[in-house]
Symmetry: C2
DNA sequence: CTGAAAGCGCTTACAG
DNA sequence: CTGAAAGCGCTTACAG
């Protein structure tokens, strides 16, 4: 079932069939009518792959992610998808790429299928990758430390985390401890750095204390257990993401501590779940779906005009969303 | 940058280039070596689109969904993706199709791009669609009332909902009310039907009471407010999905009622959030990710062998996951 | 083992 | 307005 079949049946050339399929004006109404009828009757659907080989255009963009688990990614995809749909673009998804080699392979396999790439590679060594994998395809990085040459949109982990710690300090907490994300993760690194910097600025004299986590609820639970047993006890804990904060909440409760009375807890991301836990979690809202949408918009702009202006990389600064879990401490110290 | 460039540079024909790309054995080692070097030097990446036009094969499958919002879909996609990755398949995503026409258009646009289709169309009138949209592409439906001719995998909403209501009754609840999902939605319809049937079986003489919802938290909240005010008060509420149950929980708490002491609540789906709300939500675990994975496996089997055995449509019966929200009522009535 | 040629299903100058 | 032909970038019988 191809254009030839339609052409033969309608007694025209494939060129004319192609013209009506693509809505070109230069086809006589009766001819067009006849072709349309045959298309209808034969239930003909053009072969999108062949079409894009011929036109060198495609309506798909590749989305390469390290993982697909959890609300962070579902929000991200939702935002990307909404923007893509508005522009009639399809999404070609590729996920779970542990290392750069795997990711590079995934990107290669997308050559000729997509008009551009949205890439999330939250590892510290992304810069080199951005350069090397760089075929001529437009790409925009999300939340990755891409080189300056690559457009990117990011959650400003550093800015958001400083704001969060500052908020905690403004509530009177001084012994603020941190549950860090996985080593080697860019966002985790930035949030940790922000914690140290803001603690030094807002609570001079207070030594930073860091519990190593990996963004999982379980690691938050483990850290929470340590914190509950720690002496002197922390006033508040700032977890590098919401899932760890939620795990911490559970550990604290299990240890018999009451949040926020005994210790305050704050997370980062504002995943949908954050407002449903008890106490509702104070966190920094990352607007993840917006990030995804912005990334796609930027990519679409570069696809439409590859030599267009180098947009400054956009950055979304998460703002504290104050709920119940962080409380207020009288007098500090 | 094409096979021709590589061929010219390596002083061979494109046929030989193609042979080494595809790992065919009949290339002399020195020739192969030379070609490999050129590929490396030129950083050549084969054009996947052209390749699949030529071979009439593709490594992508289309995934057509009505929406992308919420944990149900993220779990579904996660399951599909995991299975797809294991088989080296890419996912071409298309979402937010309100009606069948839109969905049919999306499916058309995927012709020639994908080897098969995974379709979720949770509307009552899917059967006709399955037949009409039916090009020669293998497709499997998820949670849709496809015709018998179409393979499908489904959550057994009816079976799971009966089990849930039966569980509530076994806990001593008798005045069990239902918060229904949107009209016209197949799962919503099945859960409602199961509620009526099981209530009649387990609690003879108790009149069914249904609050209309639409699967959103807000509609669950509204229903919860009605239930809190209802007299005589319900013993327990069975919501057609978790988000509505969670909304209901909030409304009940706001009305000053204590769950499960004053009224029990149960949901359906077991979204990840269900165990984090307080009280933790009793619900029916739908194994959504498994459903997605099973759907992809079935599709892959049909792609590999289109004339293979008609697998019986698989059905996943959700089982009650008992947490804190449904309690136990002494003596019933 | 290697190459010339046809073909996958479309689109698009170029003529007429 | 319409058609014949070349071409998009690959693969694969078919010869040699």
């Amino acid at each position: 079932m191809t254009v030839r079949d339609v052409a033969r049946e309608a007694k025209v050339s494939v060129a004319s069939v192609s013209r009506v399929i693509n809505g070109h004006p230069n086809v006589l109404p009766p001819t067009r009518q006849r072709i349309l009828e045959v298309i209808e009757r034969l239930n003909f659907v053009p072969h999108t792959g062949a079409r894009s080989l011929s036109t060198r255009r495609t309506q798909a963009v590749g989305v390469v992610l390290p993982d697909l688990y959890g609300e962070f990614f579902s929000e991200l995809i939702r935002g990307i998808d909404a923007a893509a749909r508005a522009r009639g673009l399809h999404l070609l998804l590729s996920s779970a790429h542990a290392d750069l080699d795997e990711m590079a392979a995934a990107i290669r396999s997308m050559r000729g299928l997509v008009a551009g790439l949205l890439i999330m590679a939250p590892h510290l060594d992304t810069a080199s990758f951005a350069a090397s994998a760089g075929e001529a395809l437009p790409m925009v990085f999300m939340n990755s430390r891409a080189g300056d040459r690559q457009p990117s949109v990011s959650i400003d982990s550093y800015g958001g985390a400083r704001a969060m710690v500052r908020h905690l300090a403004s509530r009177g907490h001084r012994r603020i401890v941190h549950i860090a994300g996985p080593e080697g993760n860019f966002d985790a690194h930035e949030r940790l750095r922000a914690y140290r910097d803001e603690l030094a600025a807002s609570c001079p004299g207070v030594a930073p204390r860091v519990h190593q986590g990996d963004f999982s609820e379980a690691s938050g639970f483990a850290a929470g257990a340590e914190i509950a047993a720690g002496k002197p006890r922390a006033h508040a804990v700032f977890a590098a993401n919401d899932m760890m904060a939620i795990g911490c909440l559970a550990a604290l409760a299990q240890a018999g501590l009451v949040v926020p009375r005994d210790v305050g807890v704050a997370g980062f991301d504002d995943i949908p779940m954050a407002r449903y836990v008890r106490p509702a979690l104070t966190t920094a809202r990352a607007q993840i779906a917006d990030l995804g949408a912005a990334a796609l918009e930027e990519l679409a702009a570069r696809i439409d005009d590859p030599d267009g202006p180098e947009h400054a990389s956009r950055s979304f600064v998460p703002v504290p969303v104050v709920r119940e879990s962080c409380g207020t401490r009288k007098g500090g110290r």
